[in-house]
Amino acid sequence: MKYSFQSALAGYKSRPEHELLLLLARSELEPDLRGRVLELCGQALDWQHLLRWASFDRIMPLVAHHLLDLKPPSVPAGFLDPLRTLAWDHARSALVQSDELLRVLQRMEEAGLPALPFKGPVLSDLLYGDVSMRQFTDLDILVRPSDAAKGRSLLLSCGYRPRHIQEGPRGRAALRPQCHYQLVRDDPRVGVELHWRVLPRALGDGLDPAHLVERAGWTSLGGVQVRMFRRQDLPPVLAAHCSKHLCNCVQWIADLAELSKGMEEDDWAESLAVAERAGVRRMLLLCLFLSHELLATRLPERILESARADPLVPSLACEVVARRLAGGAGSVKRERIWFYLRVLQSGPQRLFFLLRTAQLLATPTVREWDRVPLADVWFFLYYPIRAARLLIKWSRRSWTRLRAFCLQPETLK
């Protein structure tokens, strides 16, 4: 990245829709921010663009909450009405999912499986004071790795079924890069992701779920006591999740901003220590830096100094903003790998990540077994089949590029 973070941010904010979204991504609008929101709403905005990004950034409930509260006269009714409908639909769904979460957590507790609700309605209630203020589509639950299989069986007995194949050699191969089971029910509003790690193994095992569960406290949802991460553990956990997704969504940055309101200097020191031990310190610094720069989150100067002094945090932040400016979600595999390599903080972590990535690259996927149906006993044959498929794919791609390169001078002539 050849340009500075500040110029990337200025470029991003030069589009008023983007600045407006960043202002709305918070639970409370202070008077000066309200003024700026009204000012921006008075400009000729592309409301559909705003809605698309609000949804992509998973901050639609916050956008709806503020805009329908302020009701700026310049906002067209054709935008506010669908926004209201979206917000109410999400709220209904959030309540149904919250109820289901409480039911599942109760069953798990009864079975002796301590489980931590991870993101979703509990975090929404904790950070925003309302289960519907955070956009979510399924229920994430973290259990100790030793409890994952039991937890999955329990959910299957509660009427859930695997979303993708999870058994036999195909299931083991499909789950290798994952850190959760995806389970669904017939009711399309309800789905569970049962996590046994915060991050995929390739990105490190430092945030040990067993410790996180052991240290967890309690919070109340709908009058029911549920386990919740210790406040000081939440920033590294949220930052790790945000970094896993290349910091693409403003929601995760906004979560950290809301969380920071209740954090004291000592809490931050402890969070940084947890992150350091878990090998996710750079992830935490990156997310906090983004939170400060994008949402003006107040953070201790010591943290901001550490983020600015880090050799990679400013350039990673610059990349995140530049990616948003380009309108991309960063799904290209090599872009992900390059991001992960830099956000990991130590040499051994990077080496492990590369080895693990190579191992996953060699692991057969649904593409192989869909094309060549084989019985489980012949599963090992999928390894050479995958190698051959990738070789052909890359050869074709290289040949196309080479031909385009060779033909280019003729075209120019």
Partner: protein, 104 residues
């Protein structure tokens, strides 16, 4: 199941604890965990629900509403009783029988 006590100005009403609620723009949605039913409230209904978080007499709620909204006492009382009856039917509030104490 015991039939709910009849609602009157001196009835004491309160929200049941076993519910979930959230506040989408311009209203509130309640979810009764026992029945699995959703119940939607407009802004005035949301205000009433806020008041129901503590145990109160119906007449007291009506007085508060009259002080906050521009409404006729009779119409306000009728609408309030309608809402409280709906909430009772959905088992979202408990009604304690009239104590006999006169309203303010």
């Amino acid at each position: 199941m015991t039939p709910p006590a009849a609602l009157g100005p001196n009835s004491v009403v309160q929200a049941v604890p076993e519910h979930l609620c959230c506040s989408p723009p311009g209203g509130r949605i309640l979810f009764h965990r026992g029945t699995g039913k959703l119940f939607e409230l407009d802004p005035v209904g949301s205000r009433v629900w806020g008041l129901l978080q503590d145990s109160r007499r119906v007449a007291e709620i009506q007085q508060i509403l009259l002080s906050e909204y521009d409404a006729e006492a009779e119409e306000c009382g009728r609408d309030l009783l309608d809402l409280l009856q709906d909430l009772t039917a959905e088992r979202l509030i408990t009604v304690q029988p009239t104590t006999g104490a006169p309203g303010p």
